[in-house]
Symmetry: C2
């Protein structure tokens, strides 16, 4: 965790779990996990990471910002794709190390960089033996946008 | 990641994101994040971690198992509280480093060790300046069980 955090330092376990002080707990990399759900349906769209700056910008602008571990940069969701996530509600969990946001995306909803509505477009079918040959099933085969066009990969 | 993984090793980015091979990506600590939602309502209940063994047991028994980072032990959800999570559906995200499960809990639903239905029982109200004085609001003030009784803390 950065030495001088913008947010309150986590206190005792009792304070963190039962109190009303917002004291987000960042991991050793200075990141906190964030689940984004669609406000209207409650469907889980994605899981991503925020650093302190991303969390601050999310709170102050009302638009979701994340930290890209791959690109090592702050990232305003929708900056390229247009799929901006407007934060309708933000929650924090018991030990204050995971954030849950209900977001509103105007227009067709796609949260995944692959063009799908949700990043969770594949299921792990039951009744398989756990092992290296496990096969996924596509539950969503209809991307909202073509990532090659949007991101010019 | 452990040298000899039970599951398939992640291949190219293309394979991981667009393929049907289940190749869960564990982090440097050998863990993968898991979001649990209530199957009936879709509400997000909790976020926890699985190691390879917890994932294998979850797949093979159909009941959620997690890895407790605090206690450093495998943990069958509900072993103490009785709030067993039966896996109705398991999904994996685009880059295969986060799992989403829809779970069925028989009886009154409480996923949080604090006795609440969901770990996300407090909101971060909008319109606050980001900083150390941010105040949370309890959205759920009615625990399903008394953690002091259930866990004999």
């Amino acid at each position: 965790m950065p030495a001088a955090s913008l947010f309150a330092e986590p206190g005792s376990r009792e304070e963190v779990e039962s109190g009303t002080r917002f004291s987000p707990r960042f991991n050793a990399e200075g990141l906190i996990g964030c689940i984004a759900c669609e406000a209207k349906t409650g469907d889980v769209l994605m899981f991503a990471w925020m650093n302190e700056e991303a969390l601050r910008k999310t709170i102050e602008t009302g638009q979701a910002h994340y930290w890209s571990r791959a690109r090592k940069e702050l990232w305003r969701k929708g900056a390229t794709s247009g799929m901006v996530q407007n934060v309708v509600e933000m929650r924090i969990d018991c030990d204050q190390d995971t954030i849950l946001m209900k977001v509103r995306i105007d227009g067709p909803v796609a949260a995944c960089h692959m063009g799908y509505r949700s990043c969770f477009y594949r299921s792990v079918p039951a009744g398989q033996a756990a092992g290296p040959d496990m096969v996924l099933r596509f539950e969503d085969t209809d991307p909202v946008f073509d990532p090659d066009e949007v991101y010019r990969r």
